[in-house]
Symmetry: C2
Subunit: 374 residues, 2 copies
Amino acid sequence: MSPSPYAEMHPSVRLLLGPGPANVHPRVLQAMSAPILGHLDPELLTIMDDIRAMLQLVFRTQNELTLALSGTGSAGMEACLLNVVEPGEKVIVGVGGYFGWRLTEVARRLGAEVIQLDYPWGDIADPERVIQTYRQHQDAKVLALVHAETSTGVCQPLEEIGQEISRGDTLFLVDCVTSLGGIPVEVDHWKIDLAYSCSQKCIGMPSGLSPVTVSEKARAAISKRKSPIPSWYVGFDVLSRYWSEERMYHHTISSTLLYGLREALRLIWEEGLENRWQRHQKYGTLLQERLTSLGFTLFAREGYRLPVLTTVALPARLNPTQARTRLLREHSIEVGAGLGEYKEKLWRIGLMGSNANRANVEYLCGVVTEMLRE
Amino acid sequence: MSPSPYAEMHPSVRLLLGPGPANVHPRVLQAMSAPILGHLDPELLTIMDDIRAMLQLVFRTQNELTLALSGTGSAGMEACLLNVVEPGEKVIVGVGGYFGWRLTEVARRLGAEVIQLDYPWGDIADPERVIQTYRQHQDAKVLALVHAETSTGVCQPLEEIGQEISRGDTLFLVDCVTSLGGIPVEVDHWKIDLAYSCSQKCIGMPSGLSPVTVSEKARAAISKRKSPIPSWYVGFDVLSRYWSEERMYHHTISSTLLYGLREALRLIWEEGLENRWQRHQKYGTLLQERLTSLGFTLFAREGYRLPVLTTVALPARLNPTQARTRLLREHSIEVGAGLGEYKEKLWRIGLMGSNANRANVEYLCGVVTEMLRE
C-alpha cells in the first residue's frame, strides 16, 4: 500500500446557477448512497417500473416506451434521432441556438438530409413558418425543435405545430432538456412523438440519465425501418425489451443513478407538477424583473422567456467574463457564459429544480448590485 | 404538497458476487455524495485530468486519448467500433461467448461486413487460428476480441495476436470490461489500439462510466475516414476536444460519477496495481479450489480461467436457478446465471474489486456447503 499522489478530493460547495447541473435536494444524494443492486435484481426492476410511471407523469404521456437512458441528455438527443432516421431521409430542424445546431450535426452524422430552418438567436421559430416548411417537405421523416433553447433562454411554442404534423407520417421530435420538470411539457396533448430530457436541470438530480418517451406512431415507424437501428446501446428495439416485462439483459444500468432519479421524481410528485411549474415561473420572473431594474438587458424575446434559464446582457460597466469569474472565485456562484458568438456577451442564469427559490435570487442580485457599485 | 404513492426506498444490502456490479469500497460512495460541480468548473477539469492519468496507469498505456465515456461498458464497446468502422468495412470478431456475439451485433448495426471467428464457449480463440484468419483478411479495419469473456469466465491470450496485427493497418480492438483493474491488461505492450472497460467490476465503483483508450494508430485511422463518425455523443473527434486542453463544451459530464471513479482509481493506486492483480488471483483460485472440492465443475478451459469471474456447473443435486434464487432470498447473495443456452446450467461468480477477499469466499462456500447437505 502506498499513498496516492492524488490527494483526497474536496470539491467546493457551489451555488449552481448556470445552465445545469443545478444543486440537488439532499434527499437525492442521500438516496444515491444506498447499497448497490444488480441490474436484474427484482428490487431494481421494481424501481425501474416506478421511474417509468413517474416519468409518464412528468412528460404527461401514456407512452409505454418511457424510460431513462444510461447517458446524458446528449445521448437522448442522439437516441431519438438514430432510432427513427435512416441514411438519406429528410430531417427538418429549427435552428435558433446551439442545441438546434447540435440536432443538425447529429442528423448529418447519421447520413440524413437536413432541411435547416434558421431563425435568429433569441427569437422563436414562428409556428406558421415551421408549418409552411413542413408542408414543402411532407416526406420528411422527422421535424425537430428545441422546446427550451438552453443557449438563448427562449421557449418555443409547440402545440399548433404538433397538431399539424400529427396528420401526416412525419414524426415530431422535441428537445425537452431544459424544460422537463420546470415548465409545462405536454407530450400527448402536443402530439410529440419523440422527446428527451436530462436529469441535472429541472428534474433535480446529478447528470447521467436521460428521460426519453416514444409514441406508438414513432414505434410503428421504427418497426418499418429498412436498415437496422445503427446502435445497440440506445436502440429502442433492445432497450424496450429490458424496460418491459421481458427483462432481457441489455446493459448494466446504474442502480446508483436510478436511486437518484426515483428520489428526484418523488420530490416532484410531492410538490405537485403544476406547483413546481408555478414555482419556477415565479422566481424566474422575479429574477428577470430584478436584473432589468439593475440595468441588465434580457436577451430572449418578450413573451417567450424561459423562467428556468435567463439570458442577459450585462450593464456596460461589467465585463461578462470577468464578472462571471469573480462570482465563481469570490462567491462560489456559477453562472453560465453565452454559447457561440455570445460567449463573451451574455450570462445564462439557471433557476432549476430546488434552486428556483427566493434565497438564490436575493443572493445573486445582492452580489451583482455590489459589483455594480464598486 | 402531497405524499408520493411511491414509498421511500430501502434497497436490500446485497453481497454482489455476480458478473458485476460488485460492491464498492465505502470511500467511493462517500466521494459520490460530494457537492456537484459544473461540467466546465476548473475544479472538475482538474479531476478529469487526474482520472486520465490514473486510467493510463491502469490500462498501462501512454495513449493521450484515454478518458471515461459517459455510459456503461456497452457504450464503450459501441464507441470503439463506431469511431473507426465505416459501412461496408470488414471487422473480424472472435465469438466464443455472449460479448463476442454482441460485438458482431454492434458491428452489423454499423453496416460492417462481419468476419466471425467462432470458437466453443468455455474455450479461448486459438491465437494461431486468429492470426490465420487475420492473414486471410488483412484488409479488415478491425480485429476484435474479448479479453475476459464475462459469459464464459475465459481469459483470452492477446499478446501474440497484437504483435502480429501491429505490423499492418488493421486495428486491434479489445473488450476489457471484466479484466481492467483485476488482471493484467497491457495496452501498449500488447499493441492494443482500442480498449474499453466499465466502472462497476474490477475498477470498483457503481456502473455509469466506461474507461476507454485509443492508440495513435487508431486516431490516425479515424482522421482518414471518408464518412463522418456516426455519433456525436461518443465521437472521439469531439469528445477529445472536451477531455483535452481545449475544454470545448461537449456534454454535461456527471461530476458525481467522476468523483466515484477518481476515488476508485485512488484506491487502486494505494493498493498497487500488481498487488491488486495478485489479490484477485489469490481469491479466485481459492474459490475455484473450494468449489471443485464441493463437487462443482469449472466451465472454463484450464489454464485460461479468470480469477475475477468463475463459471461453474453445479453438483446434480442442486438446481442452478432454484439455488441461485435461494441465495438471493435467504442470504442476500447475488450470483449470476449463465447466459444464452447456459442460463439454467451455470453460475457465474464474480470476485471483483473490494469483493475479492477471503470473507466472501468463506461465506459463499459455507452457505453452499449447507445447501448441499440439506
